[in-house]
Amino acid sequence: MAKTFEKLAYNSLNDFVYGSAPNPVKCKNGMVIGGGEIYPELNFTLPAMEVTASNMPEIKEIYSEMINGVLKRAKELYAPGIVVEFEMLPEMTLVPEWGIEVNNLLRNAMSEYEAKYGLKSALRSTPGDVREFKRPPVMRSGEIFNNLLKTIEGSAKGGADFIAIESTGGKEIHDDALVNADLTKVIFALGVMGTRDIKFLWEHIVQIAGANGAQAAGDTACGFANTAMVLAHKGFIPNVFAAVVRVASVARTLAAYEAGAVGPNKDCGYEGVYCKAIAGVPIAMEGKSAACAHLSAVGNIAAAVADLWSNESVAPVRLLSDIAPVVSIEQLIYDCRLMNVAKQKGYGITFRDFLADSDSKLDPQAYILRPDVVFELSKELIKAKTPFLKTKAGAKLAVDAIRKAVDNKEVFIAEREKNWLDIMDDQLAAIPDDEEKFWHQIKGELELDKFIPAEYELD
């Protein structure tokens, strides 16, 4: 199953556009993701309530209300197709039956709407990466790990089209690295720990999903690069730092495709645009219509090369019109309609560039999502031979690209952010190219009670 990507999936930047991927993914009902049209991907979660056995009947009722509201509105708006993501709460993976029950409930509602009204839909099931429930986490064995695999198997058997996960290998070190804006440790966490864990984990997912009729979709550096984004949004760390972490996370998420995943990549993984350029897989992205879940500096540009357009997550809060998930599906459908019309009229690339140009000057996190930037950086990034070296290369490429763009006035960064480019450069320069050497060099500075080196093939 192991693949390596030695050149871009594209020959021309003019093919790199939303709705179309070099390697589209076909669902059981014939819907094709990345086959030309962009579709909405709707995600929802529970309101304030505990996930317990005694609450499960109410929980199922809530999911039922949400999915039926969403499907009804999608039908009324003549959506050509939608994807629903079921992102499980931790307890739903810790107790696989719970997650699987809800998975099946959603699948049934969707199948019913397809049979009755012809509304095409696909289900993405995303178990929680609950391995970090134990501290330090046991990543490759034990009851929690087995329950994670069980949940994946049950979801696939229950009819999920896609299996995804927000895996957390390396987060033990990355959290602290982030708040300290310590790029050295970020590179270690992503490039050594993260990539190794993803390879291990996704080989399992690919195998289980494949054996049970689902597609192994993709991962996201949510707990890494998105946490960085949120911290930057709050003014905790520099925007340029968050932007660099994003590109540094590419190799980590790409490792899932090397292990055999086929897409669509997960919405919150903005690094998906790089994965699409390199591996040709379709990707989900989220921007302005995910503002219900998090504010961002990438509201439009996130859509530029997306194949699915997501709201990230929303609880069934009552708004003046309807519950929030129904509001989300309406917004996503209209966004997608507009993009598809533009593309059908032959303006796909023009529209893509509207999306990109509208955001890219205002924030480095937006800048590094520019299709042309992604294209150029990806070309260089794949020259690095190993996932670790790709991680380091990604960071360095991002620093250089941002610096150049700042000089050329192509992106605006606050005065106080500028010296962070130098700080990051210095940190990167000190990182050796040899992975083992890096480990032994950094070992002394890591809190070794926070993770188990052996779980990452480290000693």
Binding site: L46, M49, V51, L178, A181, D182, K234, G235, F236
Partner: protein, 212 residues
């Protein structure tokens, strides 16, 4: 003693110089309480202000906190010996079912920087553990964190645990985290809500002062 210089060293994150100055100060018989308040805590207050005004980022704040800790290593034995108590003791943790700890850790570090003695129970902490620790250390304050809508309700369970034990009144409850709001804090009768780590310092100080 040049408190201003001491404060600057703390703010710059220069732990070595901080240690040095505190030691010198003590040798010159400067009051340890004064060193604490006019030097170390003043520095952390200044750094908090700078953060609020978008002049610095969290890493700088953490570096300052570390430098302050370096100073405290020298100062603390003397303070204890002279019977000076910390401005308060707090138990902190992310509630059961929840694994998020970035925010919780920041609050812990900031409160520590404000001179509060912190006991961190980590993540996924059951109600009983909060109660046991609070009793054990004679805490003044309990800080609860939750990042999920589905774990936030557990904050209520923690407070109820203290009520059941008949000791609710002895502690100030401060809560926070993405889904938490002022209104939610009121609804579960928490004493206060802090929307981020910097606000948490102000709020904690206010409530601890009130408590005394």
């Amino acid at each position: 003693m040049d408190f201003n210089q001491l404060s600057l060293y703390v703010q710059k994150g220069n732990g070595g110089k901080v240690k040095e100055m505190v030691s010198e100060g003590l040798a010159q018989k400067v009051s340890p309480t004064e060193i604490l308040n006019e030097g170390l805590i003043a520095a952390m207050t200044a750094i908090g202000e700078k953060f609020k005004n978008n002049e610095i980022y969290v890493p700088e704040m953490l570096m300052a906190a570390k430098a302050m800790n370096a100073g405290m290593q020298v100062l603390e034995p003397v303070l204890t010996a002279t019977g000076v108590k910390p401005i308060g003791k707090a138990v902190i943790g992310t509630v059961k079912g929840d694994l998020h700890d970035i925010g919780k850790n920041l609050v812990r570090m900031m409160l520590k920087g404000a001179g509060i003695e912190m006991y961190d129970l980590g993540i996924d902490v059951p109600a009983q553990a909060f109660l046991a620790k609070a009793k054990e250390v004679g805490a003044d304050m309990i800080c609860l964190s939750a990042l999920l809508t589905t774990t936030m309700p557990y904050m209520d369970s923690v407070i109820k645990e203290f009520e059941k034990a008949g000791v609710r009144g002895q502690f100030v409850f401060m809560i926070g985290g993405a889904p938490v709001t002022e209104a939610y804090a009121k609804s579960i009768h928490a004493d206060c809500y802090a929307e981020d780590a910097v606000v948490a310092v102000d709020v904690a100080k206010k409530y601890l002062a009130k408590k005394q």
